[in-house]
Amino acid sequence: MSIKQISVFLENKPGQLKKMTSVLAQHQIDMRALSIAETKDFGIARVVVDDAYEAANILKENVFVASLTSVLAVAIPDEPGGLDKLLDVFDKAKVNIEYMYAFLGGKEADHACMIFRVGDTKAAESRLQGLGLHIMSNEDIADL
């Protein structure tokens, strides 16, 4: 199963990210992970939060352009070669990764959580079944 990530448009100028985090803070939204893709003019903040739907609504009410994107969140053992083994599966299945980022500090202390945006989420997910990896759900994320 995939989780929902919020993607937020941010102009590439001072203070824009802070505007977003202030809104999230005011509404007691807890961020799990954050990554930013930037160009010269603008950026997209990709945020994993405890309640993605709630956060998206709050951001829209506060005049942000935000959308929900399905991403895969996978807990992998925090050890050498951990990511490599996972990517080996994607590689063999010719799954294209558009972007990815990671965070530590999940419930499983010896695991890192990897977030993947892939071309075909469903196909990638089925490849990961039966490998003993923990594919996280929205509930898992909320629970962290």
Binding site: E38, D41, V63, F64, V65, S67, T69
Partner: protein, 433 residues
């Protein structure tokens, strides 16, 4: 000594000019009534017929034409001659995407080129001169108009068109160009480039420049004159009336002489349409009394200026107009090209986006910069940076094809564009002209 291209008419007595205008106006209104149903309907709606027009005193009885009429009547609705008698079109951008397409018979081309020849002669041009035309050639009237005028005067004409600055400079230096025709901002840019290359005003063979199609200040004139070592002359015109040469500066440089044997000028109150007395500032309105294919009657230019009939020391008797001081509509002139905010709106809407935008125009190193900021909308947004950039590029291409000049499109936060009393500020023009 002042030179004239057509001295008899350029220096004719006031009575003679009025006589010509009366005769041509009466004939023109009859022709338009007979051949242009669109304008005839406007006349009928105002209750005026050709029988009511005896002289230029009756001009104010006639209805106005505006850019909106050109759009409504696009493309053939204002044609005064059968298409088979037309030999050329020129085109400029219209208000909401429909371009203005102006038609010319051979007579119209000759008339236009003669007007340009008068301008070149007034700037001191003769058949001994080498005239480099660095206005764009093509649909834009600048290149073709001055090119024709230069031929009529007998100058050796270098049709470089716009762009490729180093090649422009090579021709100026190698072929010893003495007259330069282009937009004032391009002249300033050329001057700077030549200075960088080590050419001083005494090294440059140019002696005069004919610059128009955009607003320029006296400071800019002095700057161009000193870097290029020339005398810089202003020229005025619009595609609807033929192109450059409707009015031009003489050696006295106290306004531009309007070619009154072809164009009758009026100044009106832009709000009421009432004709204002000489010397009062208002909107310039033209009636083309001699043009065949595209006979504009009381065409509202939207340019704000004043007229004077005071005697000019150059000997010409035609009325002079001041440099336009502004516009009575929201049209911008950017790098010599007409830009209406509504055109940007059209492009945005055509792409399925909301029309929340702001135009920021500035002049950096004597060249206009043109930025269009567009507020991000949910329709335009995706999680994919490449896709957003692709959309940004498509918008930019859409603007280029609508306007003919390149705009830098920036995507900004929603509701970030300044609003004044609830209304978004569409244009910020930082140019100091």
């Amino acid at each position: 000594m002042e030179r004239y291209y057509q001295e008899t008419i350029e220096c004719a007595s006031r009575e003679e000019i009025v006589r010509i205008q009366n005769e041509r106006l009466v004939a023109q209104i009859r022709r338009v009534w007979d051949n242009v149903p669109y304008y005839r309907k406007k006349m009928e709606a105002k209750g005026v017929a050709p029988e009511d027009i005896h002289s230029i005193e009756d001009l104010s009885k006639l209805p106005f034409l505006s850019k909106d009429d050109l759009r409504t009547a696009y493309p053939y609705g204002l044609l005064g001659k059968p298409l088979k008698e037309c030999v050329r079109i020129q085109s400029t951008s219209g208000t909401t995407g429909k371009r203005v397409v102006a038609f010319y018979t051979q007579h119209d081309i000759d008339l236009w080129e003669e007007c340009c020849a008068r301008a070149i002669t007034a700037a001191g041009g003769t058949d001994e001169d080498v005239c480099q035309v660095s206005y764009g050639y093509g649909l834009f009237t600048g290149g073709p108009g001055l090119n024709g005028g230069s031929h009529k005067v007998g100058c050796l004409t270098i049709p470089t068109s716009s762009g490729n600055t180093d090649r422009q400079i090579m021709f100026i230096m190698d072929l010893k160009a003495t007259i330069l025709c282009c937009t004032p901002s391009y002249a300033a840019y050329l001057g700077e480039r030549m200075r960088e290359m080590g050419y001083g005003p005494d090294d440059i063979p140019l002696k005069a420049g004919i610059f128009g199609a955009e607003a320029w200040s006296e400071e800019m004139r002095r700057e161009i004159e000193s870097t290029l070592g020339i005398k810089a002359y202003d020229i005025y015109g619009l595609t609807e009336l033929s192109g450059p040469g409707v009015a031009f500066e003489c050696s006295a440089q106290g306004g531009m002489h309007i070619n009154e044997d072809h164009f009758i000028a009026e100044i009106i109150d832009p709000d009421t349409g009432e004709v204002l007395p000489e010397g009062t500032q208002g909107e310039l309105v033209f009636t083309a009394i001699d043009k065949e294919a595209f006979p504009m009657i009381r065409y509202r230019t939207r340019d704000i200026c004043t007229l004077t009939r005071e005697k000019c020391s150059c000997g010409r008797t035609h009325v002079r107009m001041s440099k336009p001081k502004g516009r009575s509509d929201d049209m911008l002139i950017i790098r010599g090209v007409n830009v209406f905010p509504s055109q940007i709106e059209t492009v945005l809407l055509n792409h399925g986006y909301a029309a929340n935008y702001q135009i920021i125009v500035d002049r950096v190193n004597n060249t206009d910069t043109f930025d269009v900021q567009v507020e991000m909308t949910p329709e335009m947004f995706t999680d994919n940076v490449g896709e957003i950039e692709e959309r940004q590029k498509k918008l930019s291409d859409g603007l280029k094809s609508m306007l003919g000049i390149k705009a830098k499109v920036s995507l900004v936060s929603p509701k970030s564009i300044a609003r004044s009393e609830g209304k978004a500020v569409r244009v910020i023009d930082k140019r100091k002209i």
